[in-house]
Symmetry: C2
Subunit: 152 residues, 2 copies
């Protein structure tokens, strides 16, 4: 059975994964660090926007402190959203527009996001999260935080 042929088989898994991302979306908007952390496995492999190169698991305290730097809701709008579901493993990719207000200033940044999920005792959890922006190879090595999906 191919992934395409098995699409209907995994409809309820797909629905569970979509519900998990809706939970995440609300949790960012509401600064609910506990709800974010509960979507991840304890030792999830995190390739974050900021150094170091990787860390394991989300820390609820530092996540809460970071959320508190935003005045009001932190929104994550997804585009080019795609989920592939297999028996025990799923992958979701999307471009995400993270936007909100920090210290009175509107901020908006487009990210590339890759989420890997595992089905553990019937529950889907994020086991890997890779978020990034590219960087300019013009010698400046600036992070490309000013791109949009339309940028060439």
């Amino acid at each position: 059975m191919s992934l395409a042929a098995s699409k209907n088989v995994f409809q309820s898994d797909r629905a569970k994964i979509e519900a998990l991302f809706e939970q995440l979306h609300r949790a960012y908007a509401e600064h609910n660090a506990d709800a974010i952390v509960s979507a991840y496995t304890k030792d999830a492999l995190i390739y974050d926007l900021a150094p170091p190169l990787l860390h394991r698991g989300l820390d609820v305290k530092s996540l809460g402190e970071w959320l508190a730097t935003w005045d009001g809701p932190l929104e994550m709008d997804m585009q080019d959203y795609d989920i592939t579901v297999d028996e025990h493993l799923a992958v979701a990719t999307a471009l995400g527009k993270m936007h909100g207000t920090q210290q009175g200033e509107h901020r908006e940044i487009w990210l590339r996001t890759t989420f890997v999920l595992r089905k553990i005792n019937g529950q889907w959890l994020i086991s890997h999260d890779h978020a990034s922006v590219p960087f300019y190879m013009d010698g400046s090595f600036r992070a490309a935080i000013d791109l949009t999906p339309e940028s060439k």
Copy 2:
């Protein structure tokens, strides 16, 4: 059957995927753009180091031109290498040290890499490739191209 319990079932798939990455490793060293492209699906989703945010499929011509900017072998050493294999979907994550000589200068950069693979007619191909470095959130927005796995 859990992913852990199914580990032995997927041994031959794992071996095929490892062979694919060995093929990629040799292809970078030998500047063989065709061999690199043949490891990917035609419409693979690429989140590359350089802008734009995403592109679809590898272009053999521009890949060949980029490889030609390196004097001699371009090496990719992997660390913290992990492969998870399911029925038709697999994920490989690693930190990669990309190093070689460009215009007489030694260059070395640590990347985070996430590869998603699909089994299509019995053959594993890369359908998604996300490579990145973090960036410094000290107001400089510099790409963090000077990190190592030991960096805090």
